[in-house]
Symmetry: C2
Subunit: 547 residues, 2 copies
């Protein structure tokens, strides 16, 4: 199978439905109201961020940036878009507005963003967009759509990766994904988040992700007896004449079952026929689904017999897949069988045959299997991965923080929903051991934190929570990605984004990443921003009267 995913996915056509009308109607009605009241060209600053890490965790992976950049690069209303909008908006709307809309591009907008694949936290801007109010506002829904699921999916995949350690992980969710594009995005962002491959062939073709797959239960049940094996010969790996393969496999089955003291009648002949045919078709990648009838009484013996015959012919069988039952128990039984065979027949490689599991697996299943002890080498993960079952949406928002140089704040009874006003930078401060200590938001007018200088980090909403931090390294998180109508950073290819996820997670202490009761990572504000925020808050919140 193709295992090289180094080539870039940049330059790929974006899904055609990512276009300016993939938005909420209120963006267009607001655009007209802005235009009508002469506010179109007010200079606005919006932050895209989220308020809470998903999956009861304490970290999030930022993804979707490349899609956002492709979207703003080609941002432009088509003729038919404008025709459609004319039918939707009131007839009283001036023709000039539609002409103005049609002339709009994102060329006057600047977009700063965290690098795609970086670990990020609540309340810090992932993207900051500056430019004419009307354009920045109009980008909202599409940017959110492109970032929310991509980041959620990458984060989910990264969590599976952490749970699975060095075991292989494959995304098998296409049939349960939320529509065709949901499936494709799932394959892409689960690879970015740390998966080793996908079953989705189109994702393999489009993004050069390694693809995996063997057969389904239906393949096994399509055979009912040995005479159905029509091609019975196989050429040995070393070359030369084709030889009878079926007989080898049959001999092995008799031998094995008698040495394991199981009557041959227990093993399904249909399954055996299916495995033999599959091995003849794919002698170099023989992997068998062994639970169609009974793993212990039938599947394992049928697999081992065919695998041993393949070994006689010079091939290296790959392993088995378990898709039901007690995965810990069955994988241990299988490993014991493999060990015994390796031992009895002096074929050491049999001990390490791959055991893959794929039945409705989620993060907790993997953690629980780890605790019980199992012999699984690889997981195929579907529904829970692609639908992000534990939390199917990341609540990313896009909020105005400044207009024409004046800061804006959105108040709320819920403190978590109060926005942090003004144009801001985020710095990540690192400690001596290479771990990130804290992220700090500052106003852009402030000086950047310096290495080895004390920085006062304050909780944005709790006055008494403060700490001095002397960073060993300071990283500025927001980078200018789009300026004057151009993408102004080299975009990483998918492998590079994947590597960034991996490396980015390394800078987090393990207690922040653990599944159960993780430690929150702190996002602070500078002293200057703290005062700025609270002064503005008081100014905007009139004193109530109890009555």
């Amino acid at each position: 199978m193709n295992n090289s995913a180094e080539s870039s996915y940049i330059g790929l056509e974006q899904n055609g439905i990512v276009q300016p009308l993939l938005t909420d109607l209120y963006q267009i009605t607001m655009a007209y109201a802005y235009w009508k009241s002469g506010k179109s060209n007010a200079t606005a600053v919006f932050d895209l961020y989220f308020r809470k890490n998903p999956f009861h965790g304490e970290f999030t992976i930022f993804a979707g940036l490349e899609e956002c950049l492709k979207f703003i690069q080609k941002f432009h209303y088509s003729e038919t878009d404008i025709q459609y909008l004319r039918t939707v908006l009131p007839i009283s709307i001036e023709n000039e507005f539609f002409e103005y809309l049609q002339s709009l591009t994102a060329d006057e907008v600047s977009l700063f963003a965290v690098h795609e694949g970086t670990v990020v936290f609540p309340r810090e801007p992932l993207i900051r967009v500056e430019g004419p109010l009307i354009v920045v506002q109009i980008l909202e829904t599409t940017l959110l759509n492109l970032v929310n699921y991509a980041s959620l999916m990458s984060t989910n995949a990264a969590r599976f990766r952490l749970a699975a350690g060095k075991l292989k992980l494959y995304e098998f969710g296409l049939r349960r994904a939320q529509g065709p594009d949901g499936g494709l995005s799932a394959s892409k962002y689960s690879y970015i988040g740390g998966f080793d491959g996908t079953s989705n062939v189109l994702a393999g073709k489009l993004y050069n992700i390694p693809v995996k797959g063997t057969h389904a239960h239906s393949y096994v049940t399509s055979f009912c007896c040995l005479p159905e094996v029509t091609v019975t010969q196989l050429q040995p790996k070393a070359g030369g004449e084709k030889r009878e393969f079926l007989q080898y496999a049959m001999k092995w089955r008799e031998k094995l079952m008698s040495s394991f003291q199981v009557p041959t009648s227990q093993a399904s002949d249909g399954e055996f026929a299916a495995f033999i045919s599959f091995a003849i078709a794919f002698p170099d990648m023989f992997m068998a689904l062994v639970d169609t009838y009974d793993v212990v009484k039938s599947g394992l013996f049928n697999f081992c017999s065919v695998a041993l015959a393949l070994h006689d012919f010079g091939y290296s069988p790959i392993g088995i897949r378990l898709d039901s039952g007690d995965l810990a128990y069955l994988s241990n039984v299988a490993r014991n069988h493999f060990r015994k065979i390796a031992d009895i027949y002096q074929i050491p490689s049999f001990e390490n045959l791959v055991i893959m599991a794929s039945n409705d697996i989620n993060e907790e299943t993997i953690l629980s299997l780890n605790e019980q002890g199992h012999s699984i080498d690889a997981f195929g993960i579907g529904t829970h991965l692609v639908t992000c079952q534990k939390q199917p949406a990341l609540g990313g928002v896009f909020k105005m923080v400044e207009i024409d140089g004046q800061p804006r704040i959105k108040l709320s009874h819920d403190v978590e929903k109060v926005t942090i006003p003004g144009k801001k930078e985020t710095f990540r401060l690192y400690g001596g051991e290479g771990y990130a200590l804290i992220d700090i938001l500052q106003r852009t007018v402030e000086d950047s934190p310096c290495v080895d200088h004390k920085v006062l980090c304050r909780h944005p909403f709790q006055e008494s929570k403060r700490a001095y931090v002397s960073p060993v390294r300071v990283e500025k998180l927001l980078v200018l990605y789009w300026n004057k109508g151009k993408i102004c950073q080299k975009l990483p290819n998918m492998q590079e984004v994947r590597d960034r996820v991996k490396n980015s997670l390394k800078i987090l202490r393990s207690d922040i990443k653990r599944s159960l009761n993780p430690t929150p990572y702190k996002v602070a504000v500078s002293d200057n921003l703290y005062t700025f925020l609270h002064d503005l808050w008081l100014e905007n919140a009139p004193i109530g009267e109890l009555s």
Copy 2:
């Protein structure tokens, strides 16, 4: 706004990523193994069905059929598909196989399906596909992808519709949807399931679904004081000279707040400026988001003042949107204000101003609001609707039930997972009151049930559960939709599918549709199928040995 959705959506280009490679790799490896062992043209019958209704409910809406038909209509591997597959599959694979793959179409396949929009139940085939094994098998993943989310989404929407009764429902979920296409599918299938419209403009353009939207909090916060209202005049509805609108609104605000005995200082001037500007831009569709600062102290007064000024100018304001807080309480406060104003100023229409709510609403929220008593007329629903948060995947499966005339059964320790073998028809039997009584699966070789003749209906797995039913009406659910390379039914337009959902739900007794502890609707098998199923089961399950 455009409210006509009668025109057909047939003929629309399907999303380009719906193509034969949007599948799991194992379909291709199985295809080769079938080909290699001469099984390609065995005649296979597969059923597409699900095992459990979603959302703890007892019904499901079948959707996605048109997409499936479009897919099989154009089913064909492209040159580049084959090129890619050559890189993925082992080098040993014969060139003839790739040539064969490239020649494949779905022309020899027959597809029977339940009409799109019909209410359906566990274990009954939604789609039955018959034809050459290799082609039928290869269709699996894509068909499941197209049916699973479409049906889940339509069912979710239908449940919201049942909970909301006659209230208006709008889909507002694009930003939280699972990718761009996830968002578009959500808009489409929520409309089919009974929603009244969407905020998604592209869905409006492509599917002619009514679109809705006003403004966001950012629009309100972009204004900070009254001098920012640059356009202050408005032409009265009846025509004639433009007149000062701002002053009217200001006068109304003073009048109102004094009559409600609230100091004017409590109401935000920025919000007031935003509402005035919005009303001048959209005098005929003035709807305001009233919770940016404080609904009771600010938003309602600002809205009512502008609405009264609009009324003076001959326009009919629409209403308000609430996006936070206690929706039952706030909506009742708002309705009381509206009533008082209607009464004091003798403007009866004010009593019926629309109150829309849109804050993280799910089915339970609506049911709970109904219980508490509220004054909401319309809901805007996002995350919970489009991600199907309560259950983000429908577990649809595609199982082989017959090959070359021989029935196939897939056994499992879990009885629910045992397949019902053989080629089957489904009949819906109706009682005297027009309600559906039971669905019955029969073998295709059996005679159809007849009106007024007793039919023995058996539980598929529990021998003692049997009942005679004398139907007043019999409906055959599976209809031939694709035959000899052609779609052979007139496809309904989206409005017709939507109507079918509505009418299909009417044939279910209300206890089956209720949210809490609904009564299961029964899907039975005929006596003939019962015996057939259990004989085959025994044949395939060897007697175990306890050891």
